[in-house]
Amino acid sequence: MSVDVAATLGASVLAIVDPSLLLSLQSWLGAVGDLVFGVLLWVLDQWYWLMDWVYYVTGLEMLNPRYRFMHRAILVGLCVGVMAPLIGTFLVHRQLALIGDALAHTAFAGVAIGLFLNAVIDLGVSPYLTAVVVAMIAALFIELISEVTDAYNDVSMAIVLSTGFALGTTLISLNAGGLAVGVNQFLFGNLSTVSPQSAAILLVLFAVIVGTVAVTRNQLLYVTFDETAAAVSGIPVNWYNRVMVMLTAMVVVGAMQIMGVILVAAMLVVPVAGATQVSRSFSESLVVSVVLAELAVLLGIAVAYYGGVTAGGVIVLVAVGIYICAIALGKVQSIRGERTTPDMGSIEADSVDVNTGTGDD
């Protein structure tokens, strides 16, 4: 069980510092890990119950209690539909739309490392956990490069992307005997392979991402809109950029389960692009992008189930369809909106009557 492994690893690292604490710490961390996992499984059980209930009310075949994997896939999809556009909004408006792609490909390297370690030393850790770790390291790496060179440069992003994927394919081919079987699920995503364990990992990622954005939304917005002014006003811009790319790495790995490495970045970008067309305010665009993403995810999963096709591809196609509709709606809105123009008020600084002072030639 992955949580136990993480707890054990953590305990053994600490044991180097102070061996006398090993036993108590290990049992303590193990207990916490079991507790967290237990809580998550309980949440999952409540979700099954809710889905069963929806099935009995609606009679939708894809919610049949015999297909627990569909219940988990829908839960994962709903979470992805919230966190991907949430993070994507901040990325797209910084012209960082492609970082999701780069991180997804390095996450694939993380998956390969996880599978490799499991095969070689029987680590028994979920490949999604190693993927999170590797993708977050790559994210920090990209961010640090950009801090040193003062610009996000697409060349270094492309290099990180291909390095990640190359490392992944190499590791997998190295172990071709036992490993080639499972790779498709990571490349293209799969509804039926969402295990309770990976659903639990996703719930943790979801809580971390939504919680972090909820706390730091002011700072993230300021840094996204006007990085220099944010820096002048005392916001540690580099730290928020680092947080942002690490959250992106988490989203990418979380969404990878149903979207796959190759299509995961679309969820960060397409709903946000659609929301940008029709929204006026930033908070509105956040809400709209989440709604559009949820629409794409649920429609996509349904079509994938009844049509027997890959969910990731369908979800992206539905999202792009929604995006095209949003462009049309945005055009209609702007044509209707242009008719009304508010009057620009005069300057109301108190001590000086500037309106009489203007003597421009």
Binding site: T216, V232, G234, I235, A275, R280, F282, M344
Partner: protein, 274 residues
């Protein structure tokens, strides 16, 4: 063209010599900006060399200079976005790079650099001025009152719910001024704010700056448009790597600092009043 090649420490052509010794205790009226013998370079060649100047509360100072003269770099040193290689840069008596009262400084960039296809309303932009005050929290109703007052001050209340991308250049710059006002800044730093703004809005923009300056806000203007500078600023700092002139605007017009800093072809773009 440079008057000296080594770092001898002499600031030739500087009208106002600031004391070279650091005073540890701030005087009664603490200078807003105090840079002393500041040198900075992105590479081995300095972009800003041996610059010393002090800006007191309530001043209206313009920094002029040709392209690549280091005026934007000097501004970044002053507000602590960069650390000087040599010398000291103080902001409100604190080391600029460590300054943590960010809400006291309002920053307005070139409007071209702020142009993004981001869905955000004018009110949301002005709201950001309150972020240094509220931190991770929510804006209180008092904060929102300050935001709306700032919008009213710059005459943009009617545009509060407009998307920023739909505004003209001049309107957008007013919104950014409002953000600085909402942050209750004592110092307004503007980096070539009228680039890409139509002439009519430019006049209104400078009127707004004058009105805010009259209310006691210190204005630091980085500007390439010499006509605008001599018309509006009280004090001019002419920079081309080093300070060529620092003094009242009238004296600047009469001096030869411009020709020396810009080369021979420079002339005032606008009509100069007495």
């Amino acid at each position: 063209m440079s008057t000296h090649d080594t770092d001898s420490g002499s600031a030739a052509g500087t009208a106002e010599q600031t004391p070279t010794t650091m005073e540890s205790d701030a005087p009664a009226t603490e200078p807003v900006i105090d840079v002393s013998e500041v040198t900075f370079g992105y590479t081995a060649t300095p972009v800003v060399e041996d610059v010393s100047l002090t800006i007191d509360p309530g001043e209206y100072v313009a920094i002029v200079g040709p392209n690549g003269s280091g005026k934007s770099t000097l501004m970044q040193l002053m507000v602590g976005l960069r650390e000087p290689d040599r010398g000291t840069a103080n902001l409100f008596g604190e080391r600029a790079a460590r300054f943590d009262d960010g809400e006291r400084v309002g920053y307005v960039a070139q409007q071209a650099s702020a142009t993004k296809e981001m869905p955000i309303t004018v009110r949301e932009v002005v709201k950001m001025g309150r972020f240094p005050h509220v931190g991770f929290g929510r804006l209180s109703s008092a904060d929102w009152t300050i935001v709306d007052d700032a919008l009213a001050t710059v005459g943009m209340s009617g545009f509060a719910d407009r998307r920023v991308t739909q505004l003209s250049g001049g309107q957008r710059q007013r919104a950014f001024i409002a953000r600085a006002l909402a942050s209750e800044a004592d110092l307004l730093v503007l980096d070539e704010p009228t680039v890409g703004v139509d002439a009519e809005s430019v006049d209104a923009f400078y009127d707004l700056l004058a009105a805010l300056n009259a209310e006691g806000i210190t204005v630091l203007l980085i500007e390439h448009d010499l006509g605008a500078v001599v018309e509006h600023a009280d004090r001019v700092v002419c920079l081309n790597r080093e300070v060529y002139f620092d003094g009242p605007t009238d004296e600047f017009v009469d001096s030869d600092a411009l020709a020396r800093a810009f080369g021979t072809e420079a002339r005032f773009l606008g009509e100069v009043d007495g």
